[in-house]
Amino acid sequence: MNPFEDQPPSVEFDGVGFRYGRGPEILQDLRFTLQPGSFHFLSGPSGAGKTTLIRLMLLAVRPTRGLMRLFGADAGRLAGPALTATRRRMGVVFQDFRLLDHLTLYQNVALPLVVQGYEEATFRGEVLELLQWVGLDREAGTLPPTLSGGEKQRAAIARALIAKPQLILADEPTGNVDPAMARRLLHLFVELNRFGTSVVIATHDVALMDQVEASRLILADGRVYVDP
């Protein structure tokens, strides 16, 4: 039995193309579907457009042609509260973390809940628990600039997960941690996927990809190939 039978695909690309400004078309004619509850690695050489593809799915940039659907809705028409609602169904780990330097790790991780209007009393325990899970409980009160790359990365992951999104987009989430921590973090994503969250992890770490049975989206020459 497929528990997601009556749900639309999390992501649907139909002939999507994208260019930055007047530059060349970095992504061409993308055509793929991510089913709810699926687990995908997104790989491809540096500069292939992995980050750009994630920014597209995040609605940080919009397709310059083609049709993109998120949770069944035409992304080209999303605006205002509907756009915000769609973003709240996604959690993202940026390749460059994008932690807010003037907020503590605790506050950074709690950010998605705060901007959604939750009272601190309702989430304090959860945030501390998640920080402990990624090994940052002792750093909860620290500001990001004083942390190592790996610590920032784990905080960014915690922030992406805290609001229990339906789709997690992680851009090189293990690029700055040792193999043991990478395994631990990957396990976290697998665990979340088991509970129904769709996961997309952009990486060129082959060793990492070999640890999980998952389909791969391979970006090359502006096109995407799905394997299998």
């Binding site: 995040l58 940080a60 205002g80 509260p81 756009l83 915000t84 973003r87 709240r88 993202v92 994008r98 807010l100 330097d101 003037h102 907020l103 503590t104 605790y106 506050q107 709690a110 950010l111 998605p112 705060v114 901007v115 959604q116 209007g117 601190e120 501390l128 920080l131 090994g135 409980d137 002792r138 750093e139 909860a140 009160g141 620290t142 922030r159 609001a163 043991a180 631990r184």
Partner: protein, 316 residues
């Protein structure tokens, strides 16, 4: 991943976990730009409030002059060859007495008229040889203005050397000056408000551009435009209102100080006080300053909110 010891509240022991407190803290404060905006608004409000206060003093003074002038008129009887000045004066006074709306008629004694001329002629001048006109002072009923043109007409017919001086020309000129002064003050206040609006829009855009990254993270974390807009708009409104309150308070204190100055320099009615009666601001003057302050605060708040909205529309 095992730690030597791992008590539950160790994080708090090492670095206190700050609660969020006010959500405004989600956006770092841009100290410099924000302080200079508050300073600019304070200065502009100070100037506008001074102008408004001064305009109020001017208008009040003009009104009291007008009231005083409107309560009196003078009949001037010139000596004419072959006529009895004293008889002409009495006839003029009698015509005035017979006019309804005139409260009292007083023939100014020749000696008093002489005293009025002292500054020009010196004391002890013998006026009996000079053709000094006689004056009849009329007190008018402010509630029931007499028919002054009619009175002038009757005087001209009955006593040709007598003329009626109603101060009408003065009053008209005074009222024109008052209107022009009031309009000028309003225009200056308007211009100052415009300048504040410009400064606020400029500063808001600058600060927002500096926080583009933070705004994007907030958006991608699921913040609604409304939420982000509130973070910034509230802050700028508070800055604007703070600047406005500071500027208006300074202007009010300055007015208060000026009002007490002449009294401190002695009771003589020379100088500023002699000219204006008093430079003290009435409650309407302080009301004008408060109105300028509120306008400034509202304008800053509205402009900041609009600038934030426009910025968010362009970025999301």
């Amino acid at each position: 991943m095992t730690r030597p010891h791992h008590p539950q509240d160790e994080p708090r022991a090492r670095a206190p976990i700050q609660a969020f407190g006010h959500p405004g803290r989600l956006v770092p404060s841009e100290g410099g730009a924000e302080r200079s905006l508050a300073a600019v608004i304070a200065i502009l409000t100070f100037l506008a409030a001074l102008v408004a206060g001064a305009a109020e003093i001017g208008l009040t003074t003009a009104a009291s002059w007008q009231q005083a002038l409107g309560r009196e008129a003078t009949i001037q009887v010139r000596p004419a060859p072959g006529r009895d000045l004293e008889a002409d004066t009495e006839r003029g006074a009698a015509i005035a007495r017979a006019t309804p709306g005139i409260l009292s008629v007083r023939k100014v004694p020749a000696a008093e008229a002489a005293r009025l001329l002292e500054p020009w002629l010196g004391t002890g001048a013998d006026l009996s040889d000079l053709p000094v006109p006689r004056l009849v002072a009329l007190a008018l009923d402010p509630g029931r203005r007499p028919d002054l043109p009619g009175l002038a007409e009757r005087l001209r017919a009955a006593v040709p050397p007598a003329t009626l001086d109603t101060h009408q020309a003065w009053m008209e000129r005074l009222s024109r000056v008052a209107v022009a002064g009031g309009a000028l003050a309003a225009a200056i206040v308007g211009l100052v408000l415009l300048a504040s609006a410009g400064a606020t829009a400029f500063a808001t855009r600058g600060v927002l551009a500096g926080h583009r990254e933070v705004v994007e993270v907030l958006h991608l974390a699921g913040a609604e435009d409304r939420f982000v807009a509130r973070l910034f708009a509230r802050r700028f409104a508070r800055l604007g209102l703070g600047g406005a309150v500071a500027g208006a308070t300074a202007a009010g204190l300055l007015m208060l100080a000026l009002g007490s100055l002449p009294a401190r320099f002695g009771p003589d009615n020379d100088g500023i006080q002699g000219l204006f009666g008093a430079v003290s601001l009435g409650w309407r003057g302080y009301g004008a300053i408060a109105a300028v302050m509120l306008l400034q605060g509202v304008v800053a708040g509205q402009v900041a909110a609009a600038a934030v909205k426009r910025f968010l529309k362009a970025t999301s």
